[in-house]
């Protein structure tokens, strides 16, 4: 942290900051770490995640009007599940509706409107629904509603944003009032997890109007003005008893980071979503505010096309791998709002994460050896980056500076954000990409690493990998899946040339009065789902 900050009126000396931290529930280990790091002011944001964990241990209080500011809003805001595409839409989905399942902190699906998912072959699924759940309009939820809700995502005319996932459901039918049968085009053990993603909420059969949301969710729409605000009041008939604590939730967007921070500092809002690392010290220095850092969210990766020069030389890839300074990227670029990662897309929080895959150490000497072998010392190597891929220009700079020290010239080309995804990403031989968190290992691997995947960033081709992907997808044996996915992570980390130096965290700032929220690996605001658990200490 800077020198300048110490002098500003927001500064606190270390003692009082530690005191604050204790009050906010930091553990002894957190404090030791803080002190070891040379004072709280220098502490990284991640350490405060501890206080959020603590909040849940307190007893939730009921009542209060919660005001939440998101980082975007527009007239495209919607209550229609097939149109949902922005972060605010996902928040509305979880506030007014429920899904068959929800994804917990390890991406494991937990039953919500469904009682159980049963299958013998992962191809034909029988879903038992909870009974006695009612919609906001008083109608009882049954299988016809589920069939209607899911079928809308399959219908090509409705151009659902979730169509790519939904179209695998070749048949969706009601067996009886409380049972639905789904047939897939091929076995997929992840169906319960897929139906736990944002779009697959349940609406009453035949709904076509979405000026108000009629769902089964914890809150009932009171106001919905696209691009302005959404207000929900507590659903008195909510089927979960120990949930929906505040009287009303008001959500709106403040796209300007500084305005969002000011609104929070002046007490106008209770939660400001998605804050920058540079606002963090200001939030932390204020005793009425705290920061919740979710380690997931997205990653920015360095891709080398293995079918093009210079990526076709294995030594070039190995050289870059040894030259990428994950620590420096985390420290200087992400300012602690990140977590070093190991060159494969599965998050640490996932139950399938393979901790044995260790990224190569930062070793300029070894890198030099590889570059020398590849004959690339002193040759200008173009590297394409853009603001479009979060933090990539800064990562490129770190790499460039380290390369210069061993006589490797990296020619950083910064491209405009407009058109980056269609013109540069995947196409350039040596470039940066940015991938948002996805809930299942299958989605990540089939989207990004399958031999024929459209988004195969390094052109990784491996028939054995493709076969393992299908095997894991169809397998109902958790242990076997974990083992296969673990192996696939090792393969990708070693053989695909997609270097993932860090997962980028997302951080929400909130008043210390807000309780009941935990970091979620899907990203901000508990994975866009706060309505059930959030409460206010008036």
């Amino acid at each position: 942290m800077t020198h300048q900050f110490d002098k500003s009126r927001f500064s606190r000396n270390d003692d009082s900051a530690v005191e604050n931290a204790i009050r906010r529930g930091a553990t002894r280990r957190d404090l030791l770490r803080m002190l070891a790091a040379g004072g709280v002011v220098a502490a990284t944001a991640g350490m405060f995640a501890g206080s959020a964990r603590n909040a849940v241990a307190q007893t939730p209080k009921r009542g209060g009007a919660l005001r939440v500011a998101l980082n975007s809003t527009s007239t495209a805001d919607t209550l229609d599940p097939v149109r949902a595409s922005a972060q605010g839409d996902y928040m509305r989905m979880s506030t007014f509706y429920n899904k068959l399942t929800v994804l917990d902190n390890s991406f494991t699906p937990q039953m919500e409107l469904a009682e159980s998912f049963d299958t013998t072959d992962a191809k034909v699924w029988t879903i038992k629904l909870k009974t006695g759940v009612t919609f906001h309009n008083g109608k009882t939820m049954d299988s016809a509603d589920v069939v209607y809700s899911l079928s809308r995502h399959v219908d090509p005319k409705l151009t659902s944003r979730a169509n790519a996932l939904a179209k695998a459901m070749t048949k969706i039918e009601a067996v009886d009032k409380s049972t639905v049968r789904i047939e897939l085009d091929q076995p997929n053990a992840d169906l319960p997890a897929i139906l736990g993603t944002y779009h697959f909420v349940i609406i009453p059969d035949g709904t076509t109007e979405f000026t108000k949301a009629v769902g089964t969710g914890p809150y009932i729409t009171e106001v919905f003005e696209p691009g302005i605000r959404t207000v929900g009041k507590r659903n008195p008939n909510y089927f979960k008893s120990d949930a929906a604590f505040v009287d009303s939730i008001e959500m709106f967007g403040i796209p300007d980071e500084n305005a969002r921070l000011n609104a929070l500092l002046s007490g106008d809002i209770h939660i400001g979503a998605s804050m920058d690392a540079r606002s963090a010290p200001l939030v932390k220095a204020n005793p009425n505010l705290r920061l919740m850092v979710a380690p997931g969210g997205s990653y920015t990766n360095l891709n080398i096309r293995m079918d093009m020069e210079p990526g076709s030389k294995k030594d070039f890839i190995d050289g870059v791998r040894a030259l990428i300074n994950r620590d420096a990227i985390n420290r200087a670029v992400l300012r602690g709002f990140g977590e070093p990662h190991n060159d494969q897309p599965i998050q640490r929080a996932s139950r399938y994460f393979n901790a044995e895959v260790v990224p190569p150490a930062f070793d300029p000497e070894r890198a030099k050896h590889h570059f020398e072998k590849a004959g690339l010392l002193g040759v200008g190597i173009p590297l394409v980056c853009s603001e479009a891929a979060k933090a990539s220009p800064d990562m490129a700079m770190v790499l460039q500076q380290d390369a210069a020290k061993i006589g490797v010239t990296i020619d950083v080309q910064r491209m405009p954000a407009d058109g980056y995804w269609s013109n540069q990403w995947i196409k350039a031989p040596f470039h940066f990409g940015n991938i948002n968190a996805r809930p299942t290992a299958d989605i990540l691997f089939s989207l990004l690493y399958k031999s024929d995947a459209a988004w195969n960033e390094s052109r990784y081709v491996n028939p054995k990998f493709d076969q393992m992907l299908l095997e894991a997808r169809g397998s109902l044996d958790e242990a076997q899946r974990k083992q296969i996915y673990g192996e696939m992570q090792a393969m990708v980390a070693k053989d695909a040339a997609t270097i993932i130096p860090a997962y980028i965290a997302s951080a929400d700032a909130m008043s210390t009065k807000v309780g009941g929220l935990n970091p979620h690996p899907l990203g901000m605001l508990q994975g866009y789902n706060i309505a059930d658990t959030v409460w206010l200490d008036a």
């Binding site: 229609d80 151009t159 207000v231």
Partner: protein, 316 residues
Amino acid sequence: MNKRILEMIGGRLAVAILSLFLVSLAVFFITELLPGDTAQELLGQAVTTEAASQLRETLGLDRPAILRYFEWIFGLLTGDLGYSHVSDRPVASLVAERLPNSLTLAAVTMAITIPLALSLGIFAAIWKGSIFDRAISSVAIMLVSFPEFMIATLLVMWLSVYLQWLPALSFIPTTADLHTVVLAYIMPVSVLVFGSCSQMIRLSRAAIADAMVTPYVEMAMLKGASRSRMVLGHALPNSVAPIVNSVALSMSGLLGGVIIVETVFNYPGLAKLMVDGVSTRDMPLIQTCSMIFCGFYLVLITAADIIAILSNPRLR
């Protein structure tokens, strides 16, 4: 009122309506030229050729532009503003949510600016060259030299974050009482008053000064008439036309030109609605907003023209 005045007023109105028609044509075909289309913007990353053409068909975007223009104009004349492509709601309801906000902000600002700016301008003209005059002119120049967003942000930092007197957002909770509402309006209105006041002070002072250098006034002054009497009794009535014109010009800017205030204070007004419309290529929305802004402008300018005609002693 004589026939000639009525004829002139009629002429102004006819020109205004013709202008509005020209604007509608220009707006429609210029937005047509914007690269990218709603279907692509709506689908984002998930865009495929089939999905895009499917959506275009659903929205009726596959039909010729000229046909859509006449449908739109016909709808407009019958009071139907069409459907927003992006939010799938009637444009009228989107506008209805925001127009009152924009009008309130503009009205409150004008209610403060006009009396304040005109009296300062008039006094500056009466005491031309005095310390008062110079102080007013200097402050006016200072205010027009600072970007609006800087003034707005500094006010927020000072009054909301540091002193905690006023809310940082003018985004009023649905359940707000009058006190809260008044507090929420103080900062955005002040920023807008600063901006429009300084222009109006300078213009009214200049207009009056201009009217003071006529031979008639010079003669009267030589005969011993006081300066303040000449300003109020003679120069002011004679400078109604330029003053009303400048008032109309700054008022027209207050409806759509307040995007920065809307952004800093998160105020849900029409300007942000239109910017949203442009970034998603939501034609019906862009067209309606531009028609509102231009219509508002033409109404004000025409009204100013008519007032100028009526106040012209030679025509009375």
